[in-house]
Subunit: 345 residues, 2 copies
DNA sequence: AAACATTTGGAAAACGTTACCCACATCACT
DNA sequence: AGTGATGTGGGTAACGTTTTCCAAATGTTT
């Protein structure tokens, strides 16, 4: 049995060139499908590559050309909606040479900056930012340095593409569903936003706007009732408590996110209220969990998969053509009706 | 207002050297805290670095030294248990220069190989593999090339460290809990494993073994009943259907994973059975979701956070000292009793 | 046959670091 | 004064690619 040496030197392009009896330039050309290679040389080089098990060093490549590496910045691995997006991105990249790496746990502008810097330091070819909170100027500066696509933020920069769900319309869909069931006192739980700029760009703000607009449209303007908390399970719990303490509590609660709706369900269970008998509950995002029979949450589906694959497509386009004008893609959400919504008692 | 040029050349070590009036060697030394720098030179260099906003290129570094990059291979972003591990890893790395990048969606040996190759191509300094399914020989070869820590696999290689929950004991804890409640017909749903080697190394196999062993210990050997499906929600659903169709159906179902338990709950809801009135249900992993009031699943907690931080610590140690003997860390699980388990009717 | 275009292949200079040397100055001790 | 140890700084060759030339060979048109 052959004992491998403890430190096996990596096979380089020089080894391949020697094996094939050609220059390193030739090998490089073949590998990159560049101009100036004869069929004969190509086959010899490819044979040598296979025989030696050569793999190009991304590090060395980075110094001259591409790294074939893309970075995805993810605020939170726990949010299952992001998993759908990742699936979409991954699927689009499967047929390409690109490799995807992600970071998670960026919840403020400081850590976002740290992560994006790290990606640039590593010469990544393109970045996908999911729901970033950094100020627009920072995103712009970033996109000047490296091809970038932003998901989940309704920006209009000439520097980067954006892919979004139409949150305004989506909120309207859910209000329409609830109003159609006969509800009047439909309340909303929003993610509290103070920053003036983000107020116009963040999905949560647009969902609240869409809610307000749709309530007016259905002649329910006087019943508009919003609890301002956060997009977390705790936020949902507290939001529900606030709404239930009103002198005229709502018969339906439309949470701005599914995780929020889960918190609402917790609060209702605790208060001894039945769903949808006493109160209807709806969420937003249609996370996988929402489909579980034990929960069966009515929600708005964002087509996360399509968001992801669209973002990947745009990014590759932008890497190829750095000057292409920026695109803003807006996808249409759909309402998914399940067991937590029903007619008011 | 100063208009930035469209293509800003990156600030390199040469620029810093010129600005500080020293050699590039000097700058490099200061940056790496290497020997041979006077306090005066250090301060001049650091000033130049700050002034120019210099950041070292990881790509160039990779060709000579470290990249300060660690890779985490994750089978599935959707499994919330992995998020706990990531938190632990991230926390341990926060005070260091290292940056973490992950990949997800590796569910077979082929894609695992592809991902690990990609990480090596990019000269990552160390790898953390979570629940890999590759054959041991492949893991060994990998660990020979790059410092590696494996989580969720009870291997005993001299090449890499492992961090695991004591799955055998954990299963025993849950059987003890259920038996203590008065259950006799306690069934188990396992992840079907055919590979002979993995049978000895994979947590799922150890959980099933632990279940069997504990049943015997409690004098319930004759009631051992295992449904062999997969560790997915569907697997749980089908497993439950199989068990419920027995002529003597179990009064308690211990699923090998929380996601499986969720599928079990679906099947029970569908069958019109109450939990824990008709059937008690327990899972394994204590995913965040298990704590949701609407679910309130009894489970075994694996201390994912501690698994992650331990793995990170071991990895950094191994990067520093390549020759340190391999360690196998086994952490103790705890049972978390919630609403889905109760005495049999 | 001369002139020119095209194909085929390679030499060599980047790319931005680090590591291995060597040189010089300073200081303490014989 | 001579010797050796120590501190301080830099020159330069890697590291493994890609890219820009340039030269030779071959083919095509006058």
């Amino acid at each position: 049995m052959h004992q491998q040496p403890a430190t096996a030197r990596r096979v380089t392009i020089v080894d391949v060139a020697r094996q094939a009896g050609v220059s390193t330039t030739a090998v490089s050309k073949v590998l990159r499908d560049a101009y100036g290679t004869s069929p004969h040389m190509r086959s010899r080089v490819r044979a040598a590559v296979d025989e030696l098990g050569y793999r190009p060093s991304a590090a060395a490549r980075a110094l001259r050309g591409r790294t074939w590496t893309l970075g995805v910045m993810l605020p939170d691995v726990r949010n299952p909606f992001f998993a759908d997006i990742l699936d979409g991105v991954g699927e689009h990249l499967d047929d390409t040479e690109y490799q995807l790496f992600m970071t998670s746990g960026c919840n403020d502008a400081t850590s976002e900056a740290r992560v994006t810097e790290a990606m640039i330091d590593r010469s990544m070819d393109g970045l996908i930012l999911i729901a970033p909170v950094s100020p627009p100027a920072h995103l712009d500066r970033l996109a000047r340095t490296v091809p970038t696509v932003v998901i989940g933020r309704h920006s209009h920069s000439p520097r980067f593409d954006t892919v979004n769900d139409d949150d305004f319309t989506g909120a309207g869909l859910m209000v329409a569903h609830l109003a159609g069931l006969g509800h009047h006192r439909i309340a909303h739980i929003e993610h509290h936003e103070t920053d003036r700029i983000r107020l116009a760009e963040m999905p949560n703000a647009l969902r609240a706007d869409g809610y307000r607009h749709a309530m007016h449209q259905h002649g329910l303007g006087e019943h508009i009732d919003i609890a301002s908390t956060t997009y977390t399970r705790d936020g949902g719990y507290h939001g529900a408590r606030i709404l239930l303490d009103r002198k005229n509590p709502p018969t339906a609660i439309f949470a701005g996110a599914d995780v929020v709706a889960l918190g609402v369900l917790d609060a209702l269970t605790e208060a001894g209220l039945s769903v949808p008998g006493d109160v209807s509950v709806a969420g937003y995002d249609n996370i996988t969990l929402a489909g579980f029979r034990a929960i069966s949450l009515t929600s708005v589906d964002q087509a996360g998969h399509r968001i992801g694959s669209t973002a990947a497509r745009l990014l590759l386009e932008r890497i190829t053509d750095h000057t292409r004008p920026a695109a803003q893609v807006k996808l249409s959400p759909t309402a998914v009706v399940r067991g937590t919504t029903g007619p008011p008692r």
